[in-house]
């Protein structure tokens, strides 16, 4: 096995998953938002809702298409780069991903055509049903893939066969493995927060430029109503998820917190440089006892340190440590922005407060950034294991890969993805600049 092929495979998998997750993060929330808008239109008959639908569905279509094709890549990469992994988990996680294809991918793909192109072909109610089914498909997809991902963190309901691969013993224990409910809620809610701020940021831009001011104010209010519920809820869900991680993956928590030694009454470290060689933190800024208080709900609770496991069993601490702080920092910022918005709305000054609209534009993409940072925290924190405490990433990589071969694929996909991202942002910006088109009769779409 070539160490370089392993490293390049990991970079490639990290890059392709990170690129992919950006789009479902936006489309899970946007699909629900679109279903909500079309439902409001059917119920009230107010034209503004269908005009908003027609505007947001264009951006949805753009993100959805990229999400689909970048997702296809992942279902093959397991075998291409990590054949040891796919051989090990196939019997257990394969059927779960199979259910994702059957219940989610086909559902989305089957009705996205009617949703995007079927306006003049089916009635408004059937069109609304198609929108709802696409939204349902995106949620089903999250259910199955997060179940499979959670199993890699907290494997359960399996045994190891004589030939050395995992085999299922109890399907309910596999599917509803210990970290799954927390991860599912945390991620689905992350998608709601992220899409709410994307919608709010774009709406704010349109209001500032005086493009369809009235319609975009409606859109802004809906997004902020979602944000003010989902953003604080995310802090609560994140805390619960963290407690679950402490129970099942204490070393990941130690890396997140930057704790090298096992101590009672651990501090909360705000900033530090965790040095892997020295096995301690440099430039540490911390608040005494707060770490134990948050994680054990007592002042003198004991937290396990990184040095309880050999250096070879530790993740790369700085990555886990800093990505976590990026996620939490953005999370609190977004909560504050959401509350400020509600306060301005209460004072009926929301659409007039230009500094706030500018702030919304700036924080618009941050929900997506926080989601990425959260994924980096949890996935990098699982290392050096691909299945926690069971299968090492180094044993999962395909043995026959050569450095040159993987370097080729990594460079090729990096170029393609960079180009797609640039065009996506460019085309998206042009669609936003056009704003919602004046009413032209007809139904949704």
């Amino acid at each position: 096995m070539d160490v370089d092929a392993l490293l390049l495979s990991r970079i490639q998998f990290g890059l392709t998953t990170a690129f992919h997750i950006i789009f479902p993060t936006m489309t899970i929330g946007l699909a629900l938002f679109l279903a909500f808008l079309e439902g409001l239109w059917l119920k009230t008959g107010r034209e503004v809702y269908i005009r908003l639908y027609r505007f947001w569905v264009k951006l949805f279509a753009l993100a959805f298409g990229i999400g689909v094709v970048s997702g296809v890549v992942l279902s093959f990469e397991f075998g291409l780069n990590f054949s040891g992994y796919s051989d090990f988990i196939g019997d257990v996680l394969g059927p779960l991903i199979g259910y994702e294809v059957l219940t989610a991918f086909f559902l989305e793909a089957g009705f996205i055509g009617i949703m995007l192109f079927g306006v003049n072909k089916v009635g408004p109610r059937l069109h609304f049903t198609a929108t709802c089914l696409v939204a349902l498909g995106t949620t089903f997809s999250a259910f199955w893939i997060l179940s499979a991902n959670s199993w890699m963190h907290t494997p359960a309901g399996y045994s190891i066969s004589a030939a050395g691969y995992a085999v299922p013993e109890d399907w309910l224990a596999v599917i509803f493995n210990p970290s799954f409910p927390y991860r599912l809620l945390h991620m689905v809610n992350a998608s709601l927060v992220s899409s709410a701020f994307v919608v709010a940021g774009i709406s704010a831009w349109c209001i500032l430029r005086d493009r369809e001011r009235e319609a975009m104010t409606v859109s802004l209010k809906l997004a902020l109503a979602m944000a003010v519920v989902a953003a604080p809820l995310q802090a609560f869900l994140g805390d619960q998820h963290g407690l679950n991680t402490l129970e099942y993956q204490p070393i990941k928590i130690a890396a997140i917190e930057g704790h090298w030694e096992t101590v009672s009454g651990a501090p909360l470290i705000l900033f530090a440089w965790p040095d892997m060689e020295l096995e301690r933190n440099l430039w540490e800024v911390s608040i005494p006892y707060l770490g134990s208080l948050i994680l054990t709900h007592t002042l003198d609770g004991t937290l396990v340190g990184l040095n309880t496991v050999p250096a070879a069993d530790r993740p790369y601490v700085p990555l886990v440590f800093f990505s976590f702080r990026v996620m939490v920092g953005i999370g609190f910022l977004l909560i504050a922005v959401a509350f400020a918005g509600q306060w301005l709305r209460h004072r009926k000054r929301l659409a007039e407060t230009r500094w706030y609209l500018r702030l919304l534009m700036l924080v618009g993409p941050l929900g997506v950034v926080a989601t990425l940072a959260g994924w980096i925290t949890t996935e990098a924190g699982r290392q050096p294991w691909v299945v926690y405490n069971v299968l090492r990433t180094a044993d999962a990589v395909t043995p026959s890969l050569t450095t040159g071969g993987v370097a080729f694929s990594l460079i090729a996909i990096s170029v393609v993805y960079s180009a797609i991202m640039i065009v996506f942002l460019g085309v998206g910006a042009r669609l936003i600049a056009q704003g919602p088109q004046p009413a032209s009769g007809g139904g949704a779409g």
């Binding site: 753009l62 093959f76 196939g90 394969g94 088109q437």
Partner: protein
């Protein structure tokens, strides 16, 4: 019946669905460089825009069934064709994003039509290489792939790659005949006839070359009395091609497309006969590659319940978008 055999048949059905459905929509992309006007390209794109995503999902289903039900084969096969599969994925990505990007950037149509054509052709060519490599056999020793990452670079595989480009192009042209009128339909018919000639040659070459590549395939087809039972396969294929030709000459709407599908199915039947019962040819049988029964059972429940529903709403979508697209329903979400 043996559960593993049931699963092998489900996998074959999935792959056939993929080849037929994504075959014609990749074929539309393969035809793109030969189109004469932007209106034609708009029309061609509009015929597949509502359905391409669903068509491609069959590929994902095939990959995931291989992972879930035949994990030992999945882990051996994919690394052996790492580069062709990877380039195929790049091709599918490029053509997939080209749908929206081409529509949303009217000023850069000349770029996106080329991206769409290149992506479609590249993806098809790589699928053909993988198919050829699958038939021609891999180099395995003790379950691990040997021979480096360029092992698939073999004249036979390159030929099957080119043959599949012609084949998907033919499916695309026949599909376009059902979806167009007037000048465009005339053009599609002409393209279909030219491609049919190429496909006929390719089929003959592959049929003669395959037994040379793998003596075991030769034994299966040319041993008495099996030969007697297998004789109808090439004859039926010839009949399907003849009926397609007749349909094209007589300007029938559906007959060429249905005959082309029949010819593809018969080629698959031939391939199945050649390779049965291997999941990895000459290395792993489907039973050796299979997951434990509990995994097969769990997913079978899902397939039995959900797959008929999927087929129903897929058929419904095709029915909603039946006939040639009119000018105003290409991109409904304008």
């Amino acid at each position: 019946m043996d559960l593993v055999v049931v699963w092998a048949l489900i996998l074959v059905v999935g792959v056939i669905m993929y080849v037929v459905l994504d075959g014609f929509d990749l074929g539309i992309g393969i035809l793109f460089p030969f189109t004469r006007s932007r209106q034609e390209r708009d029309h061609m794109m509009a015929t597949i825009a509502p359905v391409w995503d669903g068509n491609e999902t069959w590929l994902v289903l095939g990959g995931v069934i291989l992972l879930a039900i035949f994990p030992r084969a999945y882990s051996m096969l994919l690394p052996a064709v790492y580069l062709p599969i990877f380039v195929m994925l790049l091709g599918l990505i490029l053509r997939g994003v080209a749908f929206e990007f081409r529509h949303r950037s009217p000023g850069s149509e000349h770029i996106w039509r080329r991206v769409f054509a290149t992506g479609s052709t590249l993806a098809t060519f790589c699928q053909g290489i993988v198919l050829g490599h699958f038939v021609g056999g891999f180099n395995f020793e003790d379950g691990a792939h040997i021979g480096g990452m360029w092992n698939w670079l073999h004249p036979f595989n390159l030929f099957t790659g080119a043959a599949l480009v012609a084949g998907y192009g033919l499916l695309g042209a026949c599909f376009l005949v059902t979806k167009s009128r007037g000048e465009l339909r005339e053009w599609a018919r002409t393209m279909a006839m030219r491609l049919a000639a190429l496909v006929l040659i390719a089929m003959a070459v592959v049929s003669l070359w395959t037994p040379l590549v793998d003596p075991e395939i030769e034994r299966r087809w040319f041993t008495w009395p099996d030969m007697l039972w297998l004789m109808p396969v090439p004859f039926l294929t010839a009949a399907a091609l003849a009926s397609m030709w007749y349909g094209l000459v007589r300007d029938r709407t559906l007959l060429p497309f249905l005959s082309a599908i029949a010819a593809f199915l018969l080629c698959f039947l031939g391939l199945g006969i050649s390779l049965w019962p291997y999941a990895v040819p000459r290395v792993l049988t489907i039973w050796e590659a299979a997951a434990v029964p509990a995994s097969q059972q769990l997913l079978l429940v899902g397939v039995v319940i959900v797959l008929p529903v999927i087929l129903c709403y897929t058929a419904y979508t095709y029915w909603v978008f039946r006939g040639p697209p009119s000018r105003d329903d290409g991109y409904g979400h304008d």
